[in-house]
Each structure stands twice: as C-alpha cells, then as structure tokens.
C-alpha cells in the first residue's frame, strides 16, 4: 500500500473553506449556533475535534499556535493536539507563551493574561446548547433560541436559590451574548466568564460531535444569566479565615487555582494557568535579583 501524504492542515481545502464560511456566519450572528458538517478527525469526538477543525481551517503558515488543556500547555491532551498541528501544518510555530501566540486553542480555561485584538481564541465545546438541561429536543430548543425564550433556564436558577440559597451551576455558565442568544461558554469555570465580555480578541467555539460553531465577536456584550438582585459569583479561593489563598509556586493571589491533596491530606494550591504561573515566578525572581 502506498503512503498517503496529508494536505496542509490535514483537512482538504474544501472542508476548510466550509468551516470558514460557518465561522463568518457565527461572527455575523453573535451567539447563534451555526450547524456545519463536522469532519471526523483522527482523535476522539470529545477530545477537541470541534476546536481543532476551527484551528486547522484558520491556520496560516505564519501562525504562532498555543494549545492548553485545563490551563496547562503540558497536559496530555494539549500535547497531543499540539503535536498533531505540528505534524500536519509544517512551518507553523508553536509556543507556550500566551502573549506570543496568534491562535490559541483551549479546553476548559481562558488564560489569565488579557488577550489582544491580534489574537483568536478557539474553545473546545462538548455541549453547545445551554438549553439542553431543560429541553432534550434540539428541534424545540432551536425555536426557544430563536424567540429568546430562556424562561425555563431562568426557572432553574430560581429553584436553585430557593433550594440552596445559591445558584449551583459551577461551570458552563449560561451567558447571554449581545442581548439575545444565550450560549454555553464551554466548561470554563465561572472565573473565566467575565473574560468573554467586551473581549478584544475574537472568541470562537467549536463542537465537533454536536456539529456546531458559534462565536463571541470582539467588543460584544457577554452577560452571565442572573437575576438583577442576585450577584453572579465566581469561585471562592478564600480559606476558613477569609484569607485569599495564593499559588504555592509563584505566590499569585488573583488567579484561578488548582487544588492538590497531599499524601497526608494537606491541601496545596497552584495556578491553573501554567504560563501565567511561570511569568509570575520569573517576575518575582527578577525583583529578587534586583533587590539582591
């Protein structure tokens, strides 16, 4: 059997063009889930194939790509995707530095460092539709979105407050885009939801298995679905004494923290965003060096 050389970016050019058309439509109608013919990629559905198709459709030879998973460049899935991009897009450079990249593919996090107008962020999406928790039929959900009928989702929030005095949605927090469509912002923590609002960078969302693309264009309103008199709360990193926990590695006191349980049951905390942590550490070392 002959060996088969792959096209730049794995997908054939027609497929890439199709994805780009869907992206343009998604940008034109902020928050609307554009159906597209998601291609089978050589990694599992659910491993970021939707995000990857966006990345491969957008990637050019001068691109500088960063891939993170759970905030880290070095987690297994991020490594896997980065290797695949390197293999199928010869000439493209990759980086772990958030400030340097032009295209950032991510699963479950948005970097702590604010992104710029020169950057595009691609988020991997398992469930594109926030209404799926209250309505299982996609056909009915489409009508609800069209009519901006989110009352059943809001009733869920109401019932949460009645039952728990607190909204219990932890991640994938439903977020209203430009005053109409409510999106599932992918499983980012509530901590990252504010970063969607009025972002300088273009945010793209790709769901491979569910075959949908949607976007939050730059400088577009993105508001978490809440009651006007109940504040939206992000993850709380204060200890029992009310003190903000800091990263055990870099000392940062304003980043999303991962929790680690030691053998003795003791808990330590570190930045979830590995590049951010490295930057903070470097800066601290420089300050120390100057001081010395």
């Amino acid at each position: 059997m002959t060996s088969h050389a792959y096209n730049f970016g794995f997908l054939d050019e027609y497929a890439k063009k199709e994805v780009r058309r869907a992206i343009l439509k998604a940008i034109a109608i902020p928050g609307y889930q554009v159906p597209y013919a998601s291609r089978e990629m050589p990694m599992g559905r659910g491993f970021g194939t939707g995000g990857l198709q966006l990345t491969l459709a957008l990637i050019g030879p001068d691109e500088i790509v960063k891939v993170i998973d759970q905030g880290s460049d070095d987690s297994v899935n991020a490594v896997n995707l980065r290797q695949f991009i390197e293999m199928t897009c010869p000439g493209v450079s990759t980086t772990t530095c958030t400030a340097e990249c032009t295209l950032l593919q991510t699963r479950h996090r948005i970097p702590e460092l604010p992104l710029t107008a020169e950057q595009i962020i691609v988020l991997q999406v398992p469930y594109p539709d926030p209404l799926v928790v209250v309505e299982s039929s996609e056909n009915k959900r489409k009508t609800m979105h069209g009519e901006a009928d989110y009352s059943r989702l809001l009733v869920k929030l109401y019932e949460d407050i009645v039952k728990y005095d607190e909204i219990t949605i932890s991640h994938r927090y439903p977020t209203r885009i430009n005053g109409h469509y409510v999106i599932d912002p992918s499983p980012i923590p509530r901590w990252d939801v504010a970063k969607l609002n009025n972002s300088a960078a273009l945010l793209l969302f790709g769901a491979g298995r569910e075959k949908k693309i949607y976007a939050v264009p730059p400088h577009t309103r993105a508001e978490p679905l809440v009651f006007s008199d109940v504040p939206f709360r992000v993850e709380d990193f204060r200890d029992e004494a009310g003190q903000r926990r800091v990263c055990a590695r870099c000392g940062c006191a304003n980043s999303f923290l991962d929790e680690f349980v030691g053998d003795a049951g003791n808990k330590t905390y570190q930045c979830s965003d590995s590049d951010w942590c490295d930057e903070q550490l470097q800066r601290a070392e420089q300050v120390q060096g100057v001081a010395a």
């Binding site: 009508t143 069209g146 009519e147 009928d149 989110y150 009352s151 059943r152 809001l154 009733v155 109401y158 019932e159 407050i161 009645v162 039952k163 009651f227 006007s228 008199d229 109940v230």
Partner: protein, 285 residues
C-alpha cells in the same frame, strides 16, 4: 363596553376534508364525522364577541367542539378556517389609550407566544397541562413572570407569594412540588400562575370538573372574586350547567361542532329554544 375579542366563522377539521364535510355533519346529521372522508369536523362557523370584564360560557357535551374553540384562540392549534381579533385593552397605568389589535391567526409563533405569556391566561381541567410538576409551585409562577422579562428574584418571589395567598394556597407550600398537592390546590396554583402577568383575557377549560363539590364551590367563588377585583374577561368552557349559571352572563351552546343557541345565560336557562338545550336544562333540574 369595549370589545376585547371578536371571533368569526371559526372552523377546525381533522383529516383530509372534502366538499361534503360541512353538509354531512352537525346537529341535524347527528354526527361530527364526515361519512365521505372520515374527517372529524370539530367545529364550524363559530362566531361570537367578548367584551371587557365579561364572562362568556361555552356549554356542550364532550365532542361538541367547545375546547377546540379555546385551544385555537390560545394558539395551541391552528384553526382550519375563520378569524379572531384581540383588542388589547391597555390599562390606565400604561397610558390608558386604546390598545393594539391583533389578528390572532395571522401572527407568527413568536408573536402568539408573546400574547400567551403577557396578555392571555389559561387554566386547564388537567393541572398537568398547565403546571410543570417537576418544579415548585413558586417556580411555576416564576416561569410565567420570567417569560414576561421580570428579572428581579426578590420581586418574583414576592409576586409569587402574593398570588398564592390570593388564591388561598398556604404560603408554607410555596416551595413544594405541585404533584404533592390535592386536586383543588393544584387548580388554585394553576389559577395563580395564569394570573401572574395580570392578563386581560383568561380561558378556563372545565376547571372544576372532577373536583369534590365543596372544593368546586370554593374555586368558583375565587374565580368570581378575581373577576370582580381585576375585571378580567373570561371564557369558561364547561359541560356543567351549574358553572354556567354561577359564573357567566352570556353563553353559547354547542353540539357536534356548531353553535345551536346563544344569548344571555338567564334567558337560555329559563327559556331554551333549541330542543337539545331544552333537554339539557330539563335533565339538570
């Protein structure tokens, strides 16, 4: 008195329909099934007006088409023929000017939904249709308020509680699931939910059928009180002459999809013209 609803020649046929459908069905033919094409002529040529603050009764036995009338007006299904105009009375608080006219069957689904959420209310015989049994009584009312864009949790909560208090549901049960309520209590929650957005037009479809007599009487009293308080226009669908007598000022009688008699309720009950109505009234005495 201002007109709130004008219904003309409303018709609904289930099935393919044929040119002989209308002539072959109705009270004279003693059937609503067309013998030529097996279509069901659920209603045909139904016309009436409803005025502000009035309660109109639609009376008939099952299969007479009375529920089909309100189902089409509440846009749960599309009619096969006819038109209906809703003259939206704008309250004094909203400026007091004469409201908009809506041609109900010319509206798109979103517009119909808007009217259902904001301007109409519906109470069904079966509370499972009007309530979501998986969310609390308060949540059911909240849903309707949220549909009309009220976004303040405290205000929603207050309004839900005051509505439940008004419909005599114990406040301690506001956060309970309606599936654990008695039938009468479920109807009260349904009424509270329907009234949540202070709709000027309310549809009531056999709301007391199947309830104990004492519970029936209290629900009917509640409906009358609310009508007097809020001046809500209502269409009451029932097979029960007692309900018609107690609640309505005017009534229409339906049989096999046709209106066979219409007029003041007292007149119909005292001096029924149509043989069918005469039998109906006689049997109830």
């Amino acid at each position: 008195m201002n007109k709130i609803l004008e219904v003309r020649n409303l018709g609904k046929i289930y099935g393919p329909g044929c040119p002989q459908c209308i002539d072959s069905t109705g009270p004279e033919a003693d059937t609503n099934l067309c013998p030529h094409c097996d279509s069901l002529v659920a209603m045909h040529g139904v016309s009436f007006d409803l005025f502000e603050g009035e309660i109109l009764g639609i009376m008939g036995e099952s299969g007479s088409g009375k529920s089909t009338v309100v189902n089409t007006l509440y846009s749960e299904q599309a009619p096969s023929a006819g038109e209906a105009i809703f003259y939206d009375p704008v309250s004094a608080a909203e400026g007091g000017k004469s409201g908009k006219q809506h041609e109900l069957f010319a509206l798109n689904a979103a517009q119909q939904r808007w009217l259902r959420n904001h301007r109409f209310g519906m109470v069904y015989q079966n509370p499972q249709r009007g309530l979501n049994f998986n969310i609390t009584a308060g949540g059911n009312i909240a849903e309707r308020l949220l549909m009309s864009d009220l976004m303040d949790y405290g205000a929603i909560r207050e309004r839900a509680k005051s509505l439940l208090a008004r419909t005599e549901v114990l406040l301690s049960r506001v956060d309970d699931l309606p599936k654990n309520f008695s039938g009468g209590m479920q109807q009260r929650v349904q009424i509270a939910k329907a009234l949540a957005t202070r709709p000027p037009l309310l549809f009531l479809d056999e709301v007391t059928t199947g309830l104990d007599l004492s519970v029936q009487a209290r629900i009917l009293d509640l409906i009358l009180e609310i009508q007097q308080e809020l001046k809500t226009s209502m269409i009451v669908v029932t097979h029960d002459l007692g309900v018609i007598r107690l609640l309505t000022g005017r009534a229409i009688v339906m049989k096999y999809g046709r209106v066979i008699e219409a007029g003041l309720t007292d007149q119909i009950l005292e001096d029924p013209q149509h043989a069918y109505t005469q039998r109906l009234v006689a049997s109830a005495l």
